[in-house]
Each structure stands twice: as structure tokens, then as C-alpha cells.
Symmetry: C2
Subunit: 253 residues, 2 copies
């Protein structure tokens, strides 16, 4: 009996029509059977959010050999939950988020809908990867990423990943010098609000800001890799326990 091709579940947070997810589908087609379940519109900054007060629905957008595309009214995390629990007839071999239009390195991992997808896949025990490009424009150039995305994905399909670990992969704009395996950069968002007065009322604001890398010389960080032209692969755990603090805390209580 012929072995089934790997089933690759793809989603994003920029919506099913974004260029990034459609380029990702094209790049991953040779590696397996693709099912896409992606939000029907942009959901940037969704993190691991859930829709709690309204039902979630999905619909088939297109089906051709090797690629089936659904759109979904829910959050990126719900796209994965819905595909895995209510739509697919077998468990995916891989969950992939992206390609995000924008940087998800450093502490941005917490706000990222792309990484929400990847964390959800990982929580379900499925090897999961998020791909992001440091260019948030709708017509960003993804072609230089193809060979790297195909290589990283092939390695994960071959070896799997540790049970509670997923990958956060970010690409710099322009030429890519190579790949570095990194740590999450230590940094903070600052100047986060821009006043947006409404009819003379001064309490309205747009979220904005600039990310300050607190360790700009740390060559192990994902921010450093990106700033120096390398793709950054950050192994990311879904077990948030700080084991090193357990005994200290026990003594203080």
C-alpha cells in the first residue's frame, strides 16, 4: 500500500487572501497534501485569543488536487481547533502558520496570531512551525524565503520536534545570508500610544510603538540575527513553567 503523503495544515493571521499564505501554499505543495483553514479576514495581533461569545463557522473556498482551502470566521487558534476536531479526517503531520507579513521575533511571540496557530498545533502534539517576514506590506517579496522554508519544513517532517516545542522562524527583508538557531531576544515595546482625538475628546489612542532590544550585542538573539541579515529560528516551548524559581518561591511562602 502506498504511504500517504504528509498532511500539512496551514493557517495565518493576515487572512486567507493574503499574499504570504498563498506563497506558503506554493512553497509547501511539493512536500505533502495541503489543507488551509485560515481566517476570512485579517486577525493580526490575535495571540492565542478565542471567540467566546459567538459561534465559529467555516466554508470551502477551493479544492484542487493536493490543496484544499477553507476560510473560517474565528481566530487563528480556532482555525486549528476547528480543522483538527471538526473538519479533517486524520491528524495533520504538521501545522504551519504564515507566512506572516511582519516580524514575530523577540517578545512579539506573545501577541502573534501566527504563533498562536503554532502554539495550538504544538499543544495538540503536532510538530508546528511559524514563518514570518520582517515586511508588513501587502505585496512583500517572499520568493527569497522559498528554499529556506522548504528545507526547514523537510527537516521537521523527517525528524519531528520535541513534544512541547515548536519553531518560530523569522526572515529579514532582502538578501538572506543564512540561518541561525536563536534565543528569544530580551526587549520591550516603548512609545506605545499615539493620540487619536475624536471630536475633541482626548482619551482615544492608536496602538503603535517601537521595539527596544535590551541586549543589542547578544549574537544569540533572534533580533540580532535579523538585524544582521540572517533568518532566525527560535525553538519555542509551550511549557511556561519557570522551573528554576520553584524552590526559591517555596521558601518565601
Amino acid at each position: 500500500m502506498e504511504k500517504k503523503k504528509p498532511l500539512i495544515l496551514i493557517s495565518n493571521d493576515d487572512g486567507v487572501l493574503a499574499k504570504g499564505i498563498n506563497e506558503l501554499i506554493r512553497f509547501l505543495c511539493p512536500l505533502g497534501e495541503i489543507v488551509v483553514m485560515a481566517p476570512d479576514s485579517a486577525r493580526s495581533g490575535s495571540g492565542c485569543a478565542l471567540s467566546v461569545t459567538q459561534p465559529v463557522c467555516y466554508e470551502l473556498i477551493s479544492k484542487k488536487p493536493g490543496v484544499t482551502v477553507y476560510s473560517c470566521s474565528g481566530t487563528p487558534v480556532e482555525c486549528i481547533k476547528l480543522a483538527c476536531s471538526a473538519v479533517l479526517d486524520r491528524e495533520p503531520d504538521l501545522v504551519v502558520g504564515g507566512i506572516n507579513h511582519g516580524d514575530n521575533s523577540g517578545t512579539n511571540v506573545h501577541y502573534s496570531g501566527t504563533m498562536g496557530i503554532v502554539i495550538e498545533g504544538c499543544l495538540k502534539g503536532i510538530p508546528s512551525i511559524g514563518f514570518s517576514l520582517c515586511d508588513h506590506t501587502p505585496d512583500a517579496e517572499f520568493q527569497p524565503l522559498e528554499k529556506y522554508i522548504r528545507q526547514i519544513t523537510s527537516v521537521v517532517l523527517e525528524y519531528g520536534l520535541p513534544i512541547r516545542t515548536c519553531l518560530n522562524v523569522n526572515f529579514p527583508c532582502g538578501e538572506i545570508k543564512g540561518v541561525k538557531v536563536c534565543e528569544q531576544a530580551v526587549g520591550q515595546w516603548q512609545k506605545e500610544w499615539e493620540p487619536c482625538p475624536k471630536k475633541g475628546i482626548s482619551n482615544h489612542f492608536w496602538l503603535t510603538g517601537e521595539f527596544i532590544n535590551m541586549e543589542p550585542d547578544n549574537e544569540k538573539s533572534d533580533n540580532w540575527a535579523l538585524a544582521n541579515g540572517y533568518a532566525a529560528i527560535t525553538p519555542t516551548t509551550v511549557d511556561l513553567t519557570d522551573y528554576s524559581f520553584i524552590d526559591i518561591l517555596k521558601e518565601r511562602l
Copy 2:
């Protein structure tokens, strides 16, 4: 000169009118000056989500000696960002989320708006604690938590927390036998969707499900503590790097 009282910034994801946050204000009043910036309505399951497509606003709800309360149109994370960057005239000494109506132990930490608050405080370098009760009813009984919340908060005000570590504190319903410092339980949500047909269309679903603890006998886990009547304190890191996998991954690429 008299030393200023600690400034305690409180938020939640059940909204500014919820019983849990108002009980928390009452419990923490003796420990410092309280400023509340909480969502104007329920935002359960917000995780670390951000409002990206609309501006965020806030308004003063009440001000009396020691307690100032604002409501905010944004997500729980934005409540903290807005308070710290646009409203408060000094940095909080402590950020506290809760008391959540519902369990945020185990992998729920990823979806929790309460823990979104706490992660945001921690990313800003402020000691941060989330309190949750395993009872999601609007009139849940919070009184048994008072002495524990006051003790844990006092310890954190006295000693601080490691720079990238916050606390996820969950309380069982009913009698509390004591406190255990725990690990995040390993588990998965299953049976996550309940069909919600709409006018004969079968593709609408409500998110639901049951949490399966994969290690029910692990006495170190927060789920075990709660199931056995103890309050569970899980030290939680905002650095998601899986350091143990970096060298292995380097070899595979």
C-alpha cells in the same frame, strides 16, 4: 519624607463590573494605592490579543482615597499598556490580574486574558501576579481566597520576582487546604466543538470541550493541586525559548 505606598495596577478579562475584580480591589486595598484599568465588558479568552484595527479609549469610572477605577475599550493587555504608558504618572510596583471567574491552570495560560495582563506586566519588567478561581459563575464565592491573596501579594511586594517570571495563581472551589508551588500541567482540550446549526446550515460551532490532564498522577502539577483542594502557584516565564533544543536543531539544519 514619607515613603509612597506601593502602586498596584489591577485589571481583568471579565470586565470592570465583574465580582472577581471588585473583590480583588477590596482584598488588596490595605497593601497599596490601587489603580484599576479594566475592560468595559467581558473579554474572556483574549490571551495576549491586541486591537489593531481600531483605536482604544478609556474613561474614569470612580475615584476615592486609595482607589481609582478606569474602564477601557481595549483588550486586557491594552489595559496594562494604556495605564503604564498614557495614564499613570509613575510605574506600578505590581500588576495584578483577576480574580478570574474560571480556571487558568495548565495549558489554559495560553488563552487566558488574565494571564495576558500578567505577561504584559512582566514584559514591562514589573512584578506581576494573576489570580483565578475555578468557578466561572458570576456570583462565585471569593471570600476564602482573601488571606491567601494578601499573603502572596505581600511576599511579591517584599521580595519582587525574577525579571522574566510572573505568577499564575489558581484557587479550587470551596475549602482551601493550603498552597502548593507547581508546574504547568501537561494536558489537552478535547471534544472542542458543539454543533450550532443556523437555518439548516451545518458549519456553525460553539467552542466548548473538556480538558484532559495527561499526567493525572503528577503531584507537582497545578491541575493535581487544584483537584486535591490546594491553591496552585505556577511560576511562569515570558521567555519561551526552548534552550535544550538549540544544539540539537543546529545539527539537523
